[in-house]
């Protein structure tokens, strides 16, 4: 455990844990609303913020936060009013954001797209102490929203129309979800990178679903899985000199495949138990005797 002695590694591990918590925490609501790729869109928009940060010589993390929050609010407004042309508007937002990032980074004094690379795919070795402070503050906001407002966010994501009839401020909660997703993108940007952020929001949730029957369990398992993969990916990248972002994402997908393989027999057992609970006595599947007997009239 010698890596714990390096300040750089301490910062990297702290950032990794916070990403492991926040990305699945907001991702579970996005998946429930069937907006799994929203994080990807915000990641594209955030590139303009990073570019602006270079150009104006301010912190790329805070600048990316500001721009991606604006982008997320815009996406939510397009969802309300856009309807038919909504997807075209979103496409323009995404690719405009990406092009803006490349343009601003090149215009910045001494800027080249090599600088942008560390934000696109993550670069733990360049996480500065001030980055860590920003990441901690932003992660605190995400946890506060996703845990503190879990019942309201669940209700809105589950059935928007019904949520409105219970008197919940549905539009405000939708906006808050979009803003929280945007903040999460900038939390994760330094660790896994803008282009891989969405994977950590979606894949742990998809993996957790293989085991869970409830929303609460899905939330807990996906956060636990998120922390496990971000920590082990970071440590692996320390020993093996592989890019941490890519390592983390590949590990998450491997976990998804493993859990899916494990869950198939579990799901069958549950289906049988449910059929038995209904009391109809009929097994869920046709059963075939394990061995033939002489009574079958077949040579054995």
């Amino acid at each position: 455990m010698d890596f714990l002695n390096y300040a750089l590694m301490q910062r990297a591990l702290l950032a990794a844990v916070l990403v492991g918590i926040t990305a699945p925490a907001i991702g579970v609501y996005l998946v429930q609303r069937r907006q799994a790729l929203m994080g990807d869109g915000i990641g594209h928009v955030a590139m303009t913020g990073v570019g602006l940060g270079f150009l104006l010589n301010t912190s790329p993390v805070w600048m990316a936060t500001a721009v991606s929050v604006l982008g997320a609010v815009l996406m939510e407004l397009i969802r309300w009013y856009g309807r038919a042309r909504g997807d075209i508007a979103l496409a323009m937002l995404f690719y405009g954001g990406m092009a803006g990032g490349v343009m601003f980074t090149n215009l910045a004094p001494g800027g080249s797209n090599a600088n942008l690379m560390s934000y696109l795919f993550g670069s733990l070795s360049t996480v500065s102490p001030s980055d860590v402070v920003a990441i901690c503050l932003l992660a605190a906001f995400v946890v506060l929203v996703t845990v503190g407002l879990r019942r309201q966010l669940f209700a809105v994501s589950q059935d928007e129309e019904f949520a409105r009839v219970t008197g919940l401020p549905v539009r405000a909660l939708n906006l808050l979800t979009a803003v929280t997703a945007a903040v999460t993108v900038t939390v994760a940007m330094r660790v896994v990178g803008l282009l891989l952020v969405s994977a950590l929001m979606v894949v742990p949730v998809a993996a957790a679903q293989q085991l869970s029957r409830s929303f609460a369990a899905t939330f807990a398992i996906s956060v636990a899985l998120g922390v496990t993969v971000t920590l082990s990916g970071t440590i692996t990248s320390y020993y093996q000199d592989v890019p941490p972002g890519a390592t983390i994402v590949l590990m998450t997908i491997a976990a998804f495949i493993a859990l899916t393989a494990l869950a198939a027999p579990l799901a069958r057992r549950r289906a049988r138990a449910a059929a038995a609970a209904q009391g109809d006595g009929d097994p869920a599947e046709c059963t075939i005797p394990a061995t033939r007997s002489a009574g079958d009239g077949v040579e054995v």
């Binding site: 309201q152 994501s157 589950q158 059935d159 409105r164 009839v165 008197g167 029957r213 899905t218 609970a277």
Partner: protein, 255 residues
């Protein structure tokens, strides 16, 4: 006559450029059970959804409990059962989790206390789903799913129930449970407005039927009686045109 719980005056609504409601007048008084009937496309569901604010009006006004709907905030008094959709959420959720969302209108800051958990439990018991409380809603049959949606509406202990086709696609056993649940609610003084395709097992509960056709009120009065072969056991379809001969015909266009 009791106070009016729902009141629609000259309500008009369009979907795109097509008028769906063309001047609906409808009053539901406290304790009444009113069925909204009509063929597909007659505007039943749009009328219900305009009452809860899901469809913008192009004319007329709606009052809930004597308050214009725009300023109505006391949603805890209303229990809403939407038309059941087969589209499930992207993440599994248990029966209890779904029914608990119905209690949020009474829970301050979304914090559920013991009384709230008890109310959720009681709602599940009313629809006979308490033993499935921890099961995923994805594992339920259509009828069981409908019972969960009704429990969700009952969780806030509402004074008014608004239901959109609660019996559609529901197996016979669940229909009986739903009818019994509704009987209990009506006996407790709850006001009910429901969209029905056919009166079916709910017929004895209905005080008044409002029949819509092409976005207009065609009949507002006692529930239409099935006639001819449709009166035979097993035939409980309602054909709005059969009621054209009854006395209290109002087209709604006149108002």
């Amino acid at each position: 006559m009791g106070e009016s719980v729902i009141r629609l005056r000259g309500v008009r609504a369009d979907l795109g450029s097509r008028p769906v409601l063309r001047g609906i007048d409808l009053t539901v008084r406290r304790g009444e059970v009113v069925a909204l009937l009509g063929a597909n496309g007659s505007g039943k569901s749009t009328a219900i959804r305009s009452i809860i604010g899901q469809v913008p009006l192009s004319g007329g006004e709606i009052e809930l409990f004597g308050t214009p709907r725009r300023r109505f905030r006391d949603w805890r008094r209303v229990g809403y059962v939407p038309q059941r959709t087969t589209a499930a959420g992207g993440v599994p959720a248990t029966v209890t989790e779904v029914v608990s969302t119905g209690r949020l209108s009474r829970a301050r800051f979304g914090v559920l206390r013991k009384a709230d958990h008890d109310a959720v439990r009681a709602a599940l018991e009313q629809v006979g789903m308490a033993d499935r409380a921890k099961d995923s809603v994805d594992a339920l049959s259509g009828g069981q799913h409908q019972r969960v949606l009704i429990a969700r509406a009952l969780a806030s202990e509402p004074e008014l129930l608004i239901m959109d086709e609660p019996m559609a696609g529901v197996d016979l056993a669940s229909q009986e449970v739903l009818a019994a649940t509704l009987r209990g609610q009506v006996a407790a003084g709850v006001t009910v407005l429901l969209v029905l395709h056919e009166l079916g097992p709910l017929e004895p509960l209905i005080d008044r039927a409002v029949v819509l056709r092409d976005g207009c009120v065609l009949h507002d009065g006692p529930p239409p009686k099935a006639v001819g072969q449709h009166a035979l056991p097993g035939h409980d379809h309602v054909h709005p045109h059969d009621t054209a001969g009854t006395d209290s015909i109002r087209t709604g266009l006149l108002s």
